[in-house]
């Protein structure tokens, strides 16, 4: 794992008379596996550590070269030390391993043919490696009843080998408590106390963590294909903003499953359920697979061919585009053709669209407020006032402050990392006693409930609450005050540190201390002081916040805290969770040449279309609108939106799903889903990553930029990359990925998308036509949609573009777990991505906090301007009875594309209004009854549920409704209102 180890750190060991230089920090098992030796194991997992439970990895250790007797040791429990002499191949240890697996297999049911794990099974691999062939046991097998574990996992307890990996993962690693081990000896049972869906958002990983088929992927089972038939390519998860690396597996143009692709900086070994199961939109019946032209006269739509669609597009766009160019020439900013970009498509597509319509006519497909916040994040990253951490760094930090972001739902993989981060203090304690971090059982025993400092400031409790050392549950308004206190305290400390440097006089600091302690007791709350103390005692503290609250003031304050912290502690970091897979790059696409930046989001788009009072009438009304992969109905109230859309003559939608927005279009152009298109994504830590297409699209493999290519004159991703780096220098590293231009069909460096053993080649299409088809050719990608080319696991040896592991297979290691033996083997940008806001640059930034302060003030001043309509009416129309709303995020409902998956949809909770009983009492709300929520633009009806833990001055609504309703609303019990309504007409 530690590939960065220098030669001097290495020790030499001898395995079967062969000398190796290895890292001393690992256990012997991991060392053997990294060296590529085939040593069987079950209970060990490189992320979960060793417990020495399965006794499978026995090897023989000798005292020295003279010792010929030796002793059996468990490799996973043995630290590597200098001059170690080991044998894996001697008869005794081989026999031990073989007998052990024979014992394990006595209870294994005879059901490999009907097991989804077959061909992808660690137990099969290990049995083959250890050489056990013949079953000698003639007794009866123990059996177990299965449980229903929800829509994502099948349960088949007969197959269990009792390695305990599942409980260690689910309980110890993910913090779940609805799953456990019951019974003892051969009666062991891994399951829930009562059947029911597993609650943890990482439960899907059990399918991979289990070395055999006890837990198998249920949605995969519904369209099951053996692993050797799956065609794979590496790409980026299309849901939340963390940019986890995934491998998409496909057969017959249907996505069959998604597996984790190990990236040690980001997702490591695990993906959340959204990432694992949120792919069904690709196979969905509402997929758009052909261009559609609305025919209003006949009230139907015509299916067009690609060339017809391109002609139509040109016909609709050309006059408007010419107009746009003219206006641009005449220094008039606004033209007739406008476009809305997408936060879920690849960067190239937005760039092409932006070039087509011009930057002033290009609106970003998120609300204005979000654009503003994204810009705040990006400018903070760019001027280096905060250092964005990777998830791995977040896991390694020693104190964290989470501000108003429910990361368990908005960025689950980050929450899992923070869960591990809270163990760091315990691991350090163990290290002081000389116990290595991979000694999982011992470390946990020493740590007990020791937790690294984790402070959470939020309006409601979250899944991480149980780990928090300091949790402050207050309303957003109070949060601003608390954050200001923390800022002032940090600023004090900074001054103090500076003074110390400058004067170095003892007396003065003493008096300063006195002053500070005096002021502290007077004006700051105890929690603010405790948080600051915890952050400042740490070496690498970090601040985590996000866009969930849609509150620029809070984000500004959080950025300020992170920036102050960075000046005090050079290793301090920051993580800003954004909302969609690719929305951070919007923050970079903002033109701020003038004093104030323009935040062109969806609100601005509505204002532009509906026209604003006071604007000159000569101003051209837009008549053509291109909407790229955005469902506007998720952000705007239907009435308001439809009024705007009605004002536009031609609406062109480019999307892959028939969203409500697409239903409003005159011309729909299909685009490829994440599995069918390749391009770049920018994750919320500022990591630019490239995803590859697993297969080409249904009928017309069209990327949105490709539809526009004739009009934009950008015919190749490389040209788009070049245009981008010219206009947005910060995005210049994207040109690294233009290298693909040189990959063509004849390249010797092609990678086989299918494994060598892919089957049914001459039969699968024979029913339609017995003559075999040519393999599908796709240029611009190194992945061939056939078994021709270099095998995935050999890529690194021959491939100039190394994207390991495309195909988690190597000889003898058929299961996906085999690929996890090694870490990221390649350091190419294709595998690791490019961090745009590199942290290696010097962190000396003068007067940064002042800048920030002013920026924040600016924001505060700007806010009413940018969001004028909402704010004004808030103060006027809604009386003091209006309640501050906060979003209640939920993993299973918040992500647009994921909710097309039936397994994920069925896990989403009923939408409800969560409210503190005391507030409910003052509003006459009754639990379990509906309430009317009346905001300025829209209203909603929700069931009331009471929540004792949350802040008593706010009300929680589902995130989607929060986006529509805004920050304040009047809440009345529906029963009363209904009564009034009934009374009125009579």
């Amino acid at each position: 794992m530690n590939t960065l180890n220098t030669e001097t750190d290495m020790v030499s060991i001898t395995i079967d008379n062969q000398a190796y230089r290895v890292s001393p920090n690992e256990n012997l098992l991991q060392t053997c596996l990294t060296l590529g030796l085939d040593l069987p194991y079950f209970c060990w997992h490189s992320e979960l550590g060793s417990v020495g439970a399965c006794r499978q990895c026995a090897v023989k250790q000798y005292l020295n070269d003279e010792d010929k007797v030796g002793r059996l040791v468990m490799a996973c429990m043995t630290p590597v030390c200098d001059g170690m002499v080991i044998s894996m191949q001697d008869t005794q240890s081989r026999q031990f391993r073989q007998t052990n697996i024979e014992a394990i297999m006595t209870q294994h049911p005879h059901d490999c043919p009907v097991c989804e794990e077959g061909g992808n099974c660690h137990l099969q691999d290990m049995t083959a490696i250890s050489g056990h062939i013949n079953r000698r046991y003639t007794g009866k097998k123990r059996t177990h009843l299965n449980q229903y574990l929800g829509p994502m996992l099948n349960h088949e307890m007969n197959r269990c080998i009792g390695c305990y990996r599942c409980v260690r993962f689910y309980r110890d690693y993910c913090g779940g408590d609805d799953f456990n081990v019951f019974g003892s000896k051969s009666h062991l049972y891994f399951g829930r106390a009562t059947p029911g869906a597993l609650e943890n958002s990482f439960s899907g990983n059990l399918a991979e963590v289990c070395p055999t088929g006890v837990f198998t992927d249920k949605p995969f089972s519904e369209h099951y294909i053996r692993k050797w038939d799956l065609q794979t390519a590496p790409t980026i998860c299309p849901h939340c903003s963390l940019g986890c690396n995934i491998t998409v597996s496909e057969r017959e143009r249907k996505v069959r499953r998604i597996t984790n692709r190990r990236h040690d900086e980001i997702n490591g070994h695990f993906l959340c359920n959204i990432g694992l199961f949120g792919y069904e939109h690709v196979n969905h019946s509402e997929r758009l697979d052909a261009p559609l032209l609305r025919n209003n006269a006949d009230k139907c739509s015509a299916i067009l061919s690609t060339s017809e669609a391109k002609q139509h597009l040109a016909k609709l766009l050309s006059p408007a585009i010419i107009d746009n160019q003219e206006t641009a020439l005449n220094q008039q900013a606004l033209g007739k053709c406008i476009a809305i970009g997408s936060a879920r498509t690849q960067i190239e597509n937005n760039a092409a669209l932006m070039k087509l319509v011009g930057q002033d006519n290009f609106y970003l497909g998120v609300p204005d407020l979000q654009v503003q916040m994204l810009h705040m994040l990006c400018s903070a990253y760019q001027n280096n006032s905060v250092s964005p951490f990777s998830i791995k760094q977040a896991q390694a930090c020693d104190a964290a402050l989470i501000i108003n972001e429910d990361i368990s739902h908005t960025a689950p993989r980050l929450a899992l990392a923070i869960r591990q981060m809270s163990r760091n203090l315990g691991i350090d304690n163990a290290a002081k006693l000389g116990i290595a971090d991979w000694q999982d059982g011992a470390v946990r025993n020493i740590a007990q409930t020791t937790r690294s400092p984790l402070a959470i400031i939020a309006s409601d409790t979250s899944q991480l609450s149980s780990l928090a050392t300091e949790e402050v549950i207050i309303s957003p308004d109070e949060q601003v005050i608390l954050l200001e206190e923390i800022q002032t305290l940090l600023a004090h400390r900074l001054d103090e540190a500076k003074n110390l440097e400058e004067t170095n006089s003892l007396e003065e600091t003493k008096s300063l201390d006195d002053i500070e302690t005096h002021t502290n007791t007077e004006s700051y709350s105890a929690s603010a002081r405790r948080i600051v103390d915890a952050l400042l005692t740490a070496d690498a503290p970090m601040v985590i916040t996000g866009l969930q609250s849609q509150d620029p003031a809070l984000l500004g304050a959080s950025l300020n805290i992170a920036s102050l912290l960075k000046q005090l502690k050079s290793h301090a970091g920051f993580y800003g969770v954004t909302k969609q897979v690719n929305d951070l790059h919007f923050g970079l696409l903002i033109k701020d040449e003038a004093a104030e930046a323009k935040y062109l989001g969806i609100d601005s788009f509505i204002t532009r279309v509906m026209g604003q009072e006071g604007e000159d009438s000569a101003h051209k009304a837009p008549d053509t609108l291109i909407i790229l992969e955005t469902d506007l109905y998720r952000y705007m109230e239907a009435e308001q939106l439809e009024a705007a859309l009605d004002a536009i003559d031609n609406i062109i939608v480019i999307d892959h799903m028939l969203t409500p927005t697409a239903q409003m279009a005159d011309l729909i152009l299909p685009s490829g889903s994440f599995a069918e298109s390749q391009g770049c994504y920018l994750s919320s830590e500022g990591r630019l990553q490239h995803g590859f297409a697993t297969f080409s699209g249904l009928n017309q493999p069209m990327m949105p930029w490709f539809w526009l290519a004739d009009l934009t004159d950008l015919h190749h991703p490389a040209e788009i990359h070049h245009w981008l780096s010219q206009h947005f220098p910060i995005l210049a590293p994207i040109e690294t990925f233009s290298e693909l231009a040189h990959i063509n069909q004849g390249s010797p460096f092609r990678i086989a998308g299918q494994p060598k053993r892919a089957s049914a080649r001459t039969a699968i299409h024979a029913v339609n036509d017995v003559k075999e088809q040519m393999p599908i050719s796709a240029s611009g990608t190194p992945f061939v949609q056939s078994m021709e080319g270099v095998e995935g696991f050999r890529q690194s040896q021959v491939q100039m573009i190394t994207v390991l592991p495309a195909n988690a297979w190597s000889p003898k290691w058929n299961s996906d777990q085999g690929a996890n033996r090694f870490g990221n083997m390649s350091h190419s940008p294709w595998t690791l991505g490019i961090t745009l806001f590199s942290q290696t640059s010097p962190s000396s930034q003068p007067a940064c906090p002042d800048e920030h302060q002013s920026e924040q003030e600016n924001n505060k001043n700007n806010m009413p301007a940018t969001n004028a309509s909402r704010k004004e009416t808030n103060s006027s129309a809604l009386t003091s009875a209006s309640i501050r709303l906060i979003p209640s995020s939920n993993l299973y409902t918040d992500f647009e594309l994921a909710s097309y998956s039936s397994s994920i949809h069925s896990m989403s909770p009923e939408p409800s209004l969560k409210i503190h009983p005391s507030l409910a009492a003052s509003l006459n709300l009754i639990e379990g009854e509906e309430a009317q929520i009346q905001a300025e633009h829209s209203d909603a009806r929700l069931m009331c549920t009471f929540n004792q833990q949350m802040s008593p001055s706010v009300a929680q609504v589902p995130t989607r409704l929060f986006t529509l309703l805004g920050k304040r609303a009047k809440i009345t019990p529906l029963t009363l209102k209904a009564k009034e309504d009934c009374d009125d007409p009579t």
Partner: protein, 171 residues
């Protein structure tokens, strides 16, 4: 001289020996039950399909001429949604039969499959499925395997104990 006479005798002798060739198609040769001809899908003794769509025949096939797609019946059995053999590619090697863990796929002594149109050599599941158990009369995969199906609960397979009561405190 001598050799010429020997040749004549040999030829004359062969004139009176019975011929090895038979008058096919009027006369059919004997083919052993293990002859590798047309492939069939058999049923278990209870009349249920033996094929569990495990894909092992498909992956064993050296010419990749078998395509199987899995589906699951409501009773819990796996079965083939589609099962296609492209006999225009098949080399009758019998690897599929060897690979089959449930004795479902079997080669029969029938070899008369010639067609004028290649497309007719593509056999689908209903062409392949026969009503009997073929060469193996007794074998029933689900009676041996630990997977529960309707009519055979956990612990009812051959050599299985009754399911463990997890809530019992007895040792």
């Amino acid at each position: 001289m001598l050799s010429q006479i020997r040749t004549l005798i040999t030829i004359l002798k062969h004139t009176f020996t019975p011929a090895d060739t038979v008058q096919y198609p009027e006369q059919k040769p004997y083919l052993s039950p293990r002859y590798r001809g047309r492939i069939v899908l058999t049923r278990d003794p209870d009349g249920e399909e033996r094929c569990v769509a495990c894909n092992l025949c498909s992956v064993a096939c050296p010419v990749d001429c078998i395509s199987v797609e899995k589906t699951e019946k409501p009773d819990g059995r796996w079965e083939a949604k589609t099962f296609t053999i492209n006999f225009s590619r098949c080399i009758m090697c019998g690897f599929c039969e060897e690979a089959c863990p449930t004795h479902a796929i079997q080669l029969t002594p029938d070899f008369e499959m010639a067609e004028y149109d290649r497309q007719n050599l593509v056999y689908e599941k209903h062409h392949l499925l026969i009503s009997g158990p073929g060469k193996y009369h007794e074998y029933n995969f689900y009676k041996v395997s630990g997977k529960a199906i309707t009519g055979k609960a956990k612990g009812e397979a051959i050599d299985e104990q009754a399911p463990i009561n997890v809530r019992s405190l007895l040792p």
